[in-house]
Symmetry: C2
Subunit: 213 residues, 2 copies
């Protein structure tokens, strides 16, 4: 009984450490970019580097854990947007919330993040976000407020395109300029005057399982 209790305590302790490391890495990467040292992350988390390496043998493991948390947050945002009474307002709030987080997240941009985003370990998480996004799209289409020829996948890519504008090499631009371009994209998603989109929407499979070519 005492042994079981202490095993439980150990597990809780390990989970807390893991959470602390992921939170610290999120902050440190945002501030210094993905080149930041694991020593700095361990110090910020208040754990030893050995503990960090035991939980996350490579930096990619750490980045993947951060993206997993972001996917969870995206799924929560999408769920809450599905509860908006106005289906268009739901789409709007989802895209703007996603683009806002991505724009705040510059420090983490780079090849390593892109590699980890497409990781097989995150297939379920990608699928969950896509499911909810597709529900947002279908709900707006049923209500007649969104063009019929777009899919949930399209929203993910459009959001990425808008967020990429936070990385332009013009330092004087206001940080929320992306909102302007999100406005144009949202107008382009309305049903009236829609042109015929070519090529067709990318398949869900390519986003859930990009590693399988």
């Amino acid at each position: 009984m005492a042994a079981a209790e202490s095993a439980t305590a150990l597990r809780a302790d390990a989970a807390r450490n893991r959470e602390r490391i992921v939170a610290a890495a999120t902050e440190v990467f945002a501030e210094r970019g993905l080149e930041a040292s694991t020593a700095e992350i361990a110090a910020r988390a208040g754990v030893g580097e050995a503990t960090l390496f035991r939980r996350f043998p490579t930096k990619d493991d750490l980045i993947t854990a951060i993206i997993a948390v972001q996917f969870e947050q995206s799924a929560e945002l999408a769920s809450s947007c599905l509860e908006e009474e106005d289906p268009w307002r739901g789409v709007e709030r989802f895209l703007s919330g996603m683009a806002e987080r991505a724009a705040d997240d510059h420090g983490m941009s780079g090849a390593a993040k892109e590699r980890c985003m497409a990781s097989p370990a995150l297939a379920d998480a990608r699928g969950r976000v896509l499911d909810l996004t597709s529900q947002l799209v279908r709900r707006a289409q049923k209500a007649g407020v969104m063009r019929e020829d777009v899919a949930g996948q399209d929203l993910m890519f459009l959001m990425a395109a808008v967020a990429s504008l936070g990385e332009l090499p013009f330092p004087g631009l206001r940080a929320d300029l992306w909102k302007r371009y999100l406005g144009i994209v949202l107008d382009g998603l309305r049903p009236d005057g829609a042109s015929k989109l070519r090529p067709g929407a990318p398949s869900r499979k390519l986003i859930e399982f990009p590693e399988v070519e």
Copy 2:
């Protein structure tokens, strides 16, 4: 007379060398990214590394020269689009031509390119492209086929956003998927059903002289 002739011949030779180096660097960077070695570029151009360094003391000088050529091509494209009879077709062809080149240009993406794009040496070139883009926008607005609240600067950023979709971490996506999203952006630029864009358009100054903060 003979001395003047040989000086002219020398200048012509130097200009040819410079052009060959810029063309070779464009190819090599596109294939291998901006990390490619100057040795490889010199070999491709058929000149010695000493000649390359005399013309372009730093890699940034070389990248800036490539971007200058791209800005010239953009200005030529904009001029030819201004001659389209249909003003909307002019906008469409300009955005699609710019996004196509940017999407073919992945190898050259990175911090060094962004730094060089904003270089003071390219202020005139940026201004020329912006002038022509603004003419395309005003012509379409006068014809009543484009929303009134956008400026030439907006087209540059929207094009960059669409082109950024060529760098998504999903290897199975078709290379021309950006055309789909350009279609949505173009629909969003139409006058009907336009929402009120916030924030306002970025100033021209920020793009022409980003180095002055």
